[in-house]
């Protein structure tokens, strides 16, 4: 968990070794437009000690499920502007197929189990994003 700008390169280098034939580096960026709504900036909050445990758990899950992989993950919290990197995931593997698969697994797991929350701040409002999913404005009218 970091509070400053993420540079992906050190994460790529952290997973590189002599048997690594393929490295995938995923970066998740703040998008300006989501479903026609313009985001001004995002604010990420985390339950930091638990989030760090869960990120480490995901790395371990991958290294057990796909032998000879190495994984490095970081997630930024605080205020993020358009195009800023929120998350970086680097995975190395002897062969390319696993480098893609394991990397995608990591981002899916992050979105499932890591206690991090995103608030979108728009021109005319703001909302915590996970909760929005549970109570869609158009369907339930609960918000």
């Amino acid at each position: 968990m970091v509070e400053t700008v993420i540079d992906p390169e050190p994460y790529r280098k952290a997973v590189l070794h002599a048997s690594a034939g393929a490295v995938t580096v995923f970066t998740g960026h703040v998008r300006e437009w989501t479903k026609g709504i313009r985001t001004i900036y995002l604010a990420y909050e985390a339950y930091i000690p638990m989030a760090e445990k869960k990120l480490a758990q995901i790395g371990k899950e991958i290294e057990e499920q796909w032998p000879n992989t190495k994984v490095a993950i970081a997630h930024r919290i605080g205020k993020l502007e358009i195009s800023d990197i929120a998350v970086v995931i680097a995975v190395s593997s002897p062969h390319r197929k696993v480098a893609y698969e394991a990397n995608e697994y990591a981002i899916e797991r992050i979105k499932e189990i890591v206690p991090i929350w995103k608030k979108e701040i728009w021109e005319n409002g703001q909302e915590w994003i996970g909760e929005q999913k549970q109570k869609p404005i158009v369907e339930g009218g609960l918000k």
Binding site: I116, W117, W128, G130, E131
Partner: protein, 77 residues
Amino acid sequence: MITVLYFAGLKEKTGLDKEEFIFSGKTVKQLLEELQRKYEGLSDGIIQVAINEEYALPEDIIEEKDIIALIPPVSGG
């Protein structure tokens, strides 16, 4: 005494980052019910609970000095 931590929207609904009170010996489900009576709107969304930084089940027993986190749907990445 136990410590209860609130995050994201739950922080806004309770007006609190965290609070401490006497609760031990009862279940996660009982704690949630108690907090939902105390804070209006807390029951609107799905809430997961962590005890000492690990996800807990509704029937898990909360012990003295446990740190409980109320975890609204996560949205990292």
